[in-house]
Symmetry: C2
Subunit: 314 residues, 2 copies
């Protein structure tokens, strides 16, 4: 019998899902729109049926295939309750019992957490944090998400909502954040943040610009684009140095579109990080690129919630 | 047989120690100078002999008394190694294997951590956090110390040095800190910090002023003294709101001289805290005074390191 796990990532636009082997291979996958349905219950019904289809197809090659569980990553996902709660990026209202619905549809255990926590567990089970007990995982996408791992476990906090480093206030008079406050880290250090920084440096730049265009301009030697990466790295390095004072991690993994810029981002991050670290932490903490492939991370991360549970119970 | 634990707190000036019952009563205690000795090995030899004396005296009343272990709190104490490392407030050089020496002297297990972590465990075993799994413990003394508890365990980090919230940089161009950097939280929110704030508000104030004098002036209605508490509370509330985004604790305990100011400090802290919290955390996290008595906390906290260990192994 070969046990596999379903990984589901519910995003603002698309819901991606797949079947993941215990070695971290995605054996099958599919994507559907998150919002073209009557509501979340219908979405979960359709995804569950598609997961059954994927499993049936795989069974033509591996007849002994057995589904051990389904892991779900979603914005504002609450690990303790298995619910998605008041997610600003989803069109659903209130508290949605997603894990419970998946358990009913698929008759296997379901675990849910936010997407950044899921990816952090993915890094721990299948990526660069395989032998680490204490690390931070930072996703640099539209916003800045984070997963904090202490003693080999994701920190969920008393209410299941720990790990919102993107909403640490860096400047009380700073940029307006989607959360309703000002100066949150993610208003500077994210794909959206670097665009804003670039536009401040270069007011005549096209309104249509995005982080990828700025990256290409920086590679081509444009001064303002390089300066935008330097300022982003400077701020992120300081925020990460402050973060070390909480949990003293062994490493910090950077993931997401912006992290793929490579040295153009990592160099100023590392310089600012080391400069701003408290003495006892200097030269001890690595800033590393995530070893999860961008296209696989959402499914792998979600599935690893179940593999992590199986690891503990074995 | 009644098991008791020795608690030792090594401070910059004095070393206090005592014998603690499992109910959290200090059955006997003593204090000696930290520095009037040839070096740390002699200090630990003398303290160990005095602990033996205290035990022998107690045995005249409770003959079955049994020493289960010795817990030690000290600046820059490393839990994993049982060492005090490069402590800026102690006159010792390098890495000092304090726990090992105590184990040899007393033939019982010895555990060591920094004083704020020890007090956090004291709050968990004997104080207001008895039923809490996730909380922060903040000491407002000469500096700002912190202990972070996640899932019922102090966070030590990969190197044993986690929990230095006092050295989160609040303002890169701010006050010079003893750690060599600028704008650390403890340069504002500590007994030393409030004196500086007060002197900035009232440049003609006596150089001799201290946090207690400012407290008394504030009670007497002096505007600058009240403003100094308000500004201190404002900054601490913001820093604590940011801290919640890491570990989402159920409560934050404030301990130490400054915390004894009561509402004059707690009111502006709570107001700033709630105002600066991310929406998902609002109205969920209590800011509470520590329930450890100031005079007992150092000994109780250190001893609770051993009680915590015994709890886990039972």
């Amino acid at each position: 019998m070969e046990s596999v796990v379903a990984g589901v990532d519910i995003g603002g636009t698309n819901t991606v899902f797949g079947i993941v082997s215990s070695e971290g291979n995605i054996l099958a996958r599919d994507t559907i729109s998150t919002n073209d349905h009557k509501g979340p219950e219908e979405l979960i019904h359709i995804v569950s049926n598609k997961i059954k289809e994927l499993l049936n197809n795989l069974r033509t090659q591996i007849p002994s295939l057995h589904l051990a569980g389904v892991g779900i990553g979603a914005p504002n996902g609450n690990f303790f309750r298995g619910t998605i709660e008041f997610a600003p990026n989803l069109k659903w209202k209130g508290v949605v019992p997603v894990a419970e619905w998946f358990e009913k549809e698929l008759s296997v255990p379901a675990l849910l957490t936010n997407d950044a926590n899921a990816a952090a567990i993915g890094e721990m089970i299948f990526g660069g944090a395989r032998n680490m007990q204490d690390f931070l995982f930072i996703t640099l996408g539209t916003g800045l998400g984070s997963g904090i791992v202490v003693n080999g476990e994701v920190v969920y906090g008393h209410d299941g909502f720990a790990g919102e480093i993107g909403h640490v206030v860096m400047d009380l008079k700073g940029r307006i954040c989607g959360c309703g406050r000002k100066g949150c880290l993610e208003t500077y250090c994210s794909a959206t943040g670097i665009v804003k920084t670039y536009q401040e440096l270069n007011p005549s730049a096209s309104k249509e610009t995005d982080a990828r265009i700025i990256f290409e301009k920086a590679l081509a030697g444009e001064k303002e684009a390089n300066e935008a990466f330097r300022l982003t790295g400077e701020m992120l390095g300081l925020a990460l140095a402050n973060s070390v004072a909480y949990t003293s991690p062994q490493a910090i993994f950077l993931f997401g579109g912006l992290a793929q810029a490579g040295e153009i981002l990592f160099k100023p991050v590392r310089e600012s990080f080391e400069r701003n670290l408290l003495m006892i932490y200097k030269q001890k903490v690595q800033i590393l690129p995530s070893r999860l492939r961008e296209s696989d991370a959402a499914i792998l991360g979600s599935a690893s919630l179940i593999y992590k549970m199986l690891e503990k119970s074995s």
